[in-house]
Amino acid sequence: MDFAILTFLAQDGLTTGAIYALIALAIVLVFAVTRVILVCQGDFVAFSALTLATLQAGEVPGTLWLLLGGAALVCAKDIVTAVRRRHAARIPLHLLTHLSLPLLLWALLGNLDLANLHGALKVLLTLAIVIPLGPIFYRLVYQPAAQASVLLLLILSVALHSMLVGLGLWLFGAEGFRTLPFTDSSFMLGDAMIGGQNLLVIGIALLLIVALYLFFGHSLYGKALRATAFNRNGAQLVGIPTELAGSSAFFLAALIGACSGILIGPITTLYYDSGFLISLKGFVAAIIGGLASYPLAAGGAFLVGLIESFASFWASAYKEVIVFTLVIPVLLWLSLTTHHVEEEH
C-alpha cells in the first residue's frame, strides 16, 4: 500500500467515522434519557438523504405523507385525551401545534417550482420534513410504554424499524439514490489529495458535536435532559415532564439523523433500507462507549469508520464482518470491568 492509498483510506474512514459518531451520540442520548435503543436512527439518515434526492429530482418526497399521517395521528391522540378530560377548549391549540407545520410544508411543496429551487432551500425543506418525525415516533410508539422494560422498548424499536423499511420501499421505491455533492473541489496537502467534500462532512459533523456539547453543558434545557438521564424521579420532582424529555431527545436524534443523511448523501448511494446497517455501526460505536459515555462513543465511531475503510481495501467481502466482530472484545472488556446493575422497576 502506498502513501496515496493510505491517505485516501484514512480520509474515507474519518469521513464515515464522523457520520457514525453523530449516529452513536444520538443513540447514547436517546438511550440515556428514555432507555430506548433507537434502531430507527439510521432510518432518519436514509429518509433524509432520499428526501433530499427526491427534492433535487424536482419531485415531492414521500416522507411528506409520512409526516402528515404521523402528525394527524398525534393530533387525534391529543384530542381524544382532551375530550376525555373535558378540555374541549384546548382542541384548537392541539390542531394548531401539530398540524400547522406539516400543512405549511404540504402547501409549499405543492406550489414551489422544485426543479429550480436553490439547493440550500432544499436542504432546509428536508430538515423540516424529517426532524418532526422524531417526536412523532416518540409520542406514537414509545410514550404509551414509557414505563416498560428495556426489552419491550427494544421490541417496539424493531417493530417501528420494520414498519419504516416497508414504508420506505413504498414511498421511495427500490431504487438507490445519491444526492448532489456540495463541492467538487480538492486540494493537495503535501503529497496527499484532500477531497473538499470529505473535509466539509468532517467539519460540519464536528461543528454539530461541539454544538451538542455546548447545549448539554451550558443550557438549562440541555442540563435538564442530562438530569433526566441520571435520575428520572429527581427530574420529575423538579418539574421536568418525562414526556418533554422524551420528545426532546427524539427531536435531537432526528435532527442529528437528518443532518447525517444530508452529509452522507453525496458520498454513498442510499436505499430505502440502508438505515439498518448505519444504525448498527453507530450502535457498535455506542457500545464501545458502554452506551453511556459520549466521548468514548464518538471515538469508537471514528475507529469503526477507519476499520471499515481499511477492511474494505484488504478484505472487502468481509468488511461488515470485521466491523461487527469488534463488538465481541468490547463486550468482553465491558463485562469484566463493569458491575452489573439490576434494572429498576
Binding site: R85, L220, K223, A224, R226, A227, F230, N231, N233, G234, A235, Q236, L237, V238, G239, I240, P241, L244
Partner: protein, 256 residues
C-alpha cells in the same frame, strides 16, 4: 386557626397498591404559613401519602390546593409549577452533576414559566445553606448525608414552593445536623413557606410544628395542635418514650 381557609385540604384520600390499601380515607388540612407534621411508625403510609399528593401515585379522594381541586391527570410537573414541592426520603439528586447545576435545575419549572430570576433565588438558598455555596462546584454524589439533604431542600426551594413537603429530612443524619435542618425548617416558615413534615423523629417534629397527625396502618389515628399531641399520653408512650422508632406491637394496639 387558618385551617378555615387551608392551602391544602385533603378529604378521604385512599391509595392502593394492587389490593392493599396503603392509605385509607385520610383527611388533613394545612393552613398558610403552617408547619404540619405527620408522625407514625414505619409502613404507616406516610411516604405513600406524600407520593399521592405530589401526583406520583394514583389516588382516590379529593385534594384541594390553593382552593382548586387537583385532578388525577394533573401530573407532577404541573403540581411543581403551582408551587407544590417534595423532598423525598431518597433525595433523588443528580449525583454526577455539580451542586450548582442541581440547584439551577430546581428552578426548571419556573424557567419554563418564563421567570429568569434564578440568580436571586440561588443567592437566597446559599444564604440559607452556606455549606452549599462552598461546595457549589463539587459533584452532588460526593457530599455527606447532611449536605445532600441540604442540597435536596435547596433544590426544592429553587422552585419557590408555597407548600414544601419533606419526607424524613432527619433520617440517617448526625444529631448536630438534625438540629440545623429543623432550625432551617422553622426559618422557612418565617419566609412564608408552608411545610408538610413527615418524620419518625416525632419529638423534634412536634416541637417545631403547629399541628400534627398520627398515621397508623394508613389511617389517621390521632390529630391535634402539636403541643397537645406532644402531651397526649398515648403519643408519649408510643412515640416520645423512646428515642428510636415506635415498636410495631404498640402501634397495632393503638390502631385497634
Amino acid at each position: 386557626m387558618s385551617a378555615n381557609n387551608p392551602l391544602l385540604n385533603v378529604e378521604r384520600l385512599s391509595v392502593c397498591y394492587g389490593k392493599v390499601e396503603a392509605v385509607r380515607q385520610v383527611s388533613l388540612a394545612i393552613g398558610e404559613g403552617q408547619i404540619v407534621s405527620v408522625i407514625g411508625p414505619n409502613g404507616a403510609g406516610k411516604t405513600t401519602l406524600l407520593g399521592a399528593l405530589m401526583g406520583l401515585l394514583p389516588a382516590e379522594g379529593e385534594v384541594a390546593y390553593l382552593g382548586k381541586t387537583l385532578q388525577r391527570h394533573h401530573g407532577v410537573a404541573q403540581r411543581v409549577g403551582q408551587g407544590l414541592n417534595l423532598v423525598p426520603e431518597s433525595r433523588e439528586l443528580f449525583s454526577p452533576m455539580s451542586v450548582e447545576d442541581n440547584l439551577l435545575l430546581g428552578a426548571f419549572s419556573r424557567h419554563r414559566q418564563g421567570h429568569r430570576d434564578h440568580g436571586l433565588t440561588l443567592a437566597e438558598v446559599f444564604d440559607l445553606f452556606p455549606r452549599l455555596k462552598e461546595r457549589r462546584r463539587q459533584a452532588a454524589g460526593t457530599m455527606s448525608g447532611g449536605e445532600r439533604q441540604m442540597l435536596a431542600m435547596g433544590r426544592a426551594l429553587m422552585a419557590k414552593p408555597k407548600l414544601l413537603m419533606l419526607d424524613e429530612p432527619s433520617l440517617g443524619l448526625a444529631p448536630r445536623v438534625i438540629g440545623e435542618i429543623f432550625r432551617i425548617i422553622t426559618e422557612l416558615r418565617a419566609t412564608g413557606v408552608s411545610i408538610l413534615l413527615v418524620e419518625q423523629n416525632a419529638r423534634a417534629a412536634l416541637k417545631c410544628s403547629d399541628y400534627g397527625y398520627v398515621l397508623e396502618n394508613g389511617e389517621v389515628a390521632l390529630q391535634g395542635p402539636a403541643a397537645e399531641l406532644a402531651d397526649d399520653p398515648k403519643v408519649i408512650e408510643t412515640y416520645l418514650g423512646r428515642k428510636s422508632a415506635a415498636p410495631a406491637p404498640a402501634a397495632a394496639a393503638l390502631a385497634g
